[in-house]
């Protein structure tokens, strides 16, 4: 583009501001677009000046963000093992408890997370009852840490203790690993804070039956390609966060034959097959570590303003950027959506869990346009789901050409949330998620949509502007 070129070509105008010029363009037959303009950053001058401050680095930023997006897209993910956390997760001790979201002290946690920790301590045999477990949790003898710090993620409370079996995913392209527990199913489950005998028995069953059988099956299969399942499931009505029906079935199809070939008893094999079959959210605990794996591979890219983690601990929502490991947190919002019969919005805990890692990686809420079956969570309007998926392109650095949405003419999903775009457009990432009861152990009370608090992005921008040079 140069001035002499402009003089020789047809003028094509973008009108930013007063609509009164439009009629003048029309009388002249001038080709124009009128922007539906709104003040950037909601008109917040402080944020605008921060955006201005980092403008001189825009070339470096753009390059870094492109690099991040291409790394995320390039990541491959294979489920290579199912083993106990203590054997595979880095820095995991017998007294370590990992939880979802940014770091938080036990006393500050919400009911479901505390309940799940109490359950985990009893499951580990570190406490014999709830009272003892509570005392132990408060004693300082237990190391609590964010699962994200250990390349791990977990839905809802996201509790991982030493003996729990975890899916181990490996990225052949970048050579990194990620970990996630096995999904327990719906109802009274640990991730919603339940810790009754029924819950602990199931955890034991997973450890003694599902883990060994699945691990051997996965070995026989020489790894199971998780990314490929996500790609297919997106064409089958899943968005792989709140709907995992197709992906769970596809996973079962991949693994069933190998389960049958394992050396275990028929009872253990059929127990494992039925456990997977009966849980239509089984695959959530595979789509999440896939996303974690892909996003982690792009960490430590200087200058990048792309988000590589969005996560909530039930109190705070936290995000991390590709250029540093810092958390930027703000109080988590409440999920709005469809309540299960018998519950009201007052029953719900604030937004919780690591599952927003799916949106961070361009699926989940970002892929809702491909999952029309679940739009009752958003009021039953399919077009709204389409709109969300389209709108997310406004705030991302790139798109995931492998993850496409058939109802939108195979539009790629938006990938690589850029904090600069979020602040500038005032459009927040859309997260499609479940709601936990605020009391431990009641379980899921609904599902719907939630946004991260804007303050996370504002803080991240502030920090970025301070540090960039």
């Amino acid at each position: 583009m140069s001035i002499s070129k402009l003089f020789s070509e047809t003028l094509k105008v973008v009108n930013v501001g007063s609509p009164s010029f439009k009629k003048d363009f029309e009388t002249q037959g001038l080709d124009y677009v009128h922007l539906e303009w709104k003040p950037p950053a909601s008109g917040d001058l402080k944020l605008l000046s921060l955006l201005n401050q980092i403008r001189p680095y825009s070339e470096q930023i753009e390059k870094a963000n492109e690099e991040v997006v291409s790394k995320i897209k390039a990541a491959e993910a294979k489920l290579v093992a199912v083993k106990q956390a203590k054997d595979v997760i880095p820095n995991m001790t017998s007294h370590t408890i990992l939880h979802s979201g940014p770091p938080i002290a036990f006393d500050n946690m919400v009911g479901p997370m505390q309940g799940a920790i109490i359950g985990a301590l009893m499951y580990e045999g570190l406490a014999k009852d709830e009272k003892e477990a509570t005392l132990l949790a408060k004693s300082g003898k237990i190391t609590f840490d964010s699962a994200h710090h250990h390349q791990a993620v977990g839905p809802m409370a996201g509790i991982i203790s030493a003996s729990m079996p975890v899916h181990v995913l490996y990225n052949e392209i970048h050579g990194n690993y990620s970990y996630c527990t096995i999904n327990e199913g719906l109802g009274k489950v640990l991730r919603y804070g339940a810790n009754s005998n029924e819950v602990l028995d199931r955890l034991k069953f997973m450890e003694t039956t599902v883990m060994p059988v699945l691990n051997e099956a996965v070995e026989l299969a020489k790894g199971i390609d998780i990314k490929s399942i996500i790609t297919q499931a997106l064409h089958m009505g899943d968005e792989c966060h709140n709907r995992n029906k197709a992906s769970s079935a596809l996973f079962l199809r991949e693994v069933a034959g190998y389960i049958v070939q394992t050396s275990f008893s028929d009872e253990m094999k059929s127990g494992t097959l039925n456990f997977i079959k009966n849980n239509e959210h089984y695959f959530l605990n595979l789509s999440m570590p896939y996303c974690k794996l892909a996003l982690d591979s792009a960490r430590h890219t200087p200058y990048s303003t792309v988000v590589v983690a969005m996560s909530r601990n039930g109190v705070d929502f936290g995000i991390q950027l590709a250029h540093s490991d810092k958390w930027f947190t703000a109080p988590a919002n409440y999920v709005k959506g469809l309540m299960f019969p018998g519950f009201t919005e007052d029953d719900a805990a604030p937004d919780i869990g690591d599952s927003a890692i799916t949106e961070t990686c361009g699926i989940g809420g970002f892929a809702m346009g491909g999952a029309p079956a679940i739009v009752q969570f958003v009021g039953g309007v399919v077009k709204q789901a389409y709109d969300y998926s389209k709108e997310m392109h406004e705030i991302t650095s790139g798109k995931h050409q492998v993850f496409t949405l058939p109802p939108l003419d195979f539009m790629p999903t938006a990938l690589g949330i850029d904090i600069l775009k979020v602040v500038e457009t005032n459009i927040l990432p859309i997260i499609n998620t479940g709601m936990a009861h605020k009391k431990a152990g009641v379980g899921q009370v609904g599902a719907g949509l939630v946004n991260p608090p804007m303050a996370c992005f504002e803080k991240a921008l502030e920090d970025y502007a301070k540090g960039v040079k």
């Binding site: 105008v13 930013v16 007063s18 609509p19 010029f21 539906e36």
Partner: protein, 511 residues
């Protein structure tokens, strides 16, 4: 009675708000109405007009603030106002089908090559950067853009070989398309660069009227020739026009530039392969450069450019016989007290040109556009002696549309001057063309009649001298506009400078 309302998260652009404010006020018969987005500046403004409420304190720039003063309480006034406001915006939305929210989106979808930016100044630079980053040229209509941003934007533009016209650039004609405030003129071979909107309009209009045509008319914004900005865009534009095959003559228009900038421009035009006409209004340039012609009025700039382009024009800086007869007739009707010219202008540069023409012809002339200490009109609201008032001055336009868009703000002032016994001539400009009011003469005619009647009642005869800056290709139509004025006894000038000469002659000024 007064009342207030905040509408949360409802952004409207200021032009929409201002233009609908006038119509809603009329439709609902309100004593007063102010509608603004909740910026600090706007809050101050509402406070100054006495329509501010405590509840506005926490409002953000994304919230719409409405202050209303009603003759009698109107139930549900908020809904009525918002209905009218949303009607207006809906109409606008209907015209474009696909919704684009950002410049990058538009660029991707339509491969647009120029962004016209008229959002509030505090946001304008950001949008302009976005446009440049997308390799688009920029016309920055917005004012209140910081000088640092102007420099940053222009440096980036020059690096990328792009135009940044503005900030505060009201007029441009690119590839024959008028942008913002521009007249419909013929295509031709005269290329212009101007740091003045109405100046550019005036010269293009005169060129068109006498058979010439325009290749490109580039606006650079009023501050381009300041010391800080250093004429960056004017210098760049001169290069662009000198390389442009369609351009045979180059015209530069500006208020007097900073000395250092003038030197840069002179150095640049010394070596050009095309003749250059330089109009710097008041600035005296004692330079003798081959193929460079210095003139001091817009009229002469147009005339010189036409001459260089091979077009003949009458001498526009003298008064012809026919006009002379009209003037003599007017003079006979005056009473002794009537010896002053009252210029009421919508165009800023036209005001400045008039001052430059009248200085030396009449004594003690003042204006709110004057730079010389003894010519400065301290209170432009108050008429005093020979005075030339630019009604586009910030003191008149706070929260109101510019008089070129809404010439009604001049009407009260015309009546005021008519009542003043010292008033002999009321000098008016009317701008036609894109962006301007759909019938600026039409909305003024009634007031002219009223003013004449007021004077007559007092046994005075008022002279109206008007210049209509426009062409017959403009939607408002030059001929029609002039005819309306003539019908009411208004003396019509050929150019703005010509109008000043006529006014001076009527009050017996030196010729």
């Amino acid at each position: 009675m007064k009342d207030y309302e905040i509408v949360k998260n409802a952004y409207y652009d200021s032009v929409t708000l201002m233009s609908t404010t006038v119509s809603i006020k009329k439709a609902l018969n309100l004593k007063d109405l102010v509608m603004f987005m909740g910026t600090d500046m706007n809050k101050d403004m509402m406070e100054s007009v006495g329509l501010y409420d405590k509840k506005f304190d926490d409002a953000t720039p994304n919230d719409l603030l409405i202050g209303i003063e009603m003759h009698e309480t109107i139930d549900g006034w908020v809904d009525q106002v918002l209905d009218k406001l949303s009607n207006k915006t809906n109409q606008n939305q209907d015209q474009s089908q696909t919704v684009f929210k950002t410049i990058s989106q538009a660029k991707q979808a339509k491969d647009s090559n120029i962004a016209i930016i008229s959002v509030p100044g505090i946001y304008a630079a950001n949008e302009a950067y976005k446009a440049l980053e997308n390799n688009m040229h920029v016309m920055l209509f917005s004012d209140n853009v910081s000088v640092e941003d102007e420099i940053g934007l222009k440096d980036l533009a020059i690096k990328k070989d792009l135009l940044v016209m503005g900030p505060d650039c009201g007029t441009a004609i690119i590839n024959g398309m008028g942008l913002c405030f521009a007249n419909q003129v013929s295509k031709g071979h005269i290329g212009l660069v101007a740091a003045s909107g109405t100046g550019l309009q005036e010269v293009t209009v005169i060129i068109d009227r006498f058979g010439g045509g325009i290749s490109q008319a580039i606006g650079v914004g009023g501050r381009d020739l300041s010391e800080a900005v250093g004429g960056k865009m004017m210098l760049k534009s001169i290069d662009a026009l000198s390389e442009d095959d369609e351009t045979e003559v180059i015209v530069l228009i500006s208020k007097p530039p900073h000395k250092s900038v003038l030197d840069k421009i002179l150095t640049k035009i010394k070596d050009l392969n095309k003749p250059v006409v330089v109009c710097l209004l008041d600035a005296v340039v004692n330079e003798n450069i081959k193929d460079v012609h210095f003139v001091s009025t817009l009229t002469e700039a147009a005339q010189k450019a036409l001459e260089l382009g091979g077009f003949k024009t009458p001498d526009l800086m003298t008064i012809d016989k026919e006009t002379e007869t009209l003037i003599e007739k007017e003079q006979l009707l005056k009473v002794k007290s009537q010896d002053k010219i009252k210029g009421l202008f919508c165009g800023g540069t036209l005001t400045a040109e008039t001052l430059s023409v009248l200085r030396g012809k009449v004594h003690d002339i003042i204006s709110n556009v004057a730079k010389k200490k003894d010519e400065i009109m301290i209170n432009p609201m108050e008429s005093h002696g020979h005075n030339l008032v630019d009604l586009g001055d910030d003191v008149f336009t706070q929260g109101k549309p510019h008089p070129m868009i809404e010439p009604m703000i001049r009407l009260d002032r015309i009546i005021q001057e008519a009542k003043n016994p010292e008033t002999s001539v009321i000098l008016l400009d009317f701008e036609l063309g894109l962006g301007s009011h759909e019938d600026p003469v039409g909305v003024t005619i009634e007031t002219i009649e009223e003013a004449l009647a007021i004077a007559k009642k007092d046994n005075r005869h008022l002279s109206f001298v008007a210049y209509v800056c426009g062409t017959n290709k403009d939607a408002q139509n030059l001929e029609k506009s002039e005819a309306m004025l003539k019908e009411h006894g208004v003396i019509i000038a050929k150019t703005n400078a010509h109008a000043a000469l006529i006014a001076s002659k009527i009050v017996g000024g030196k010729l």
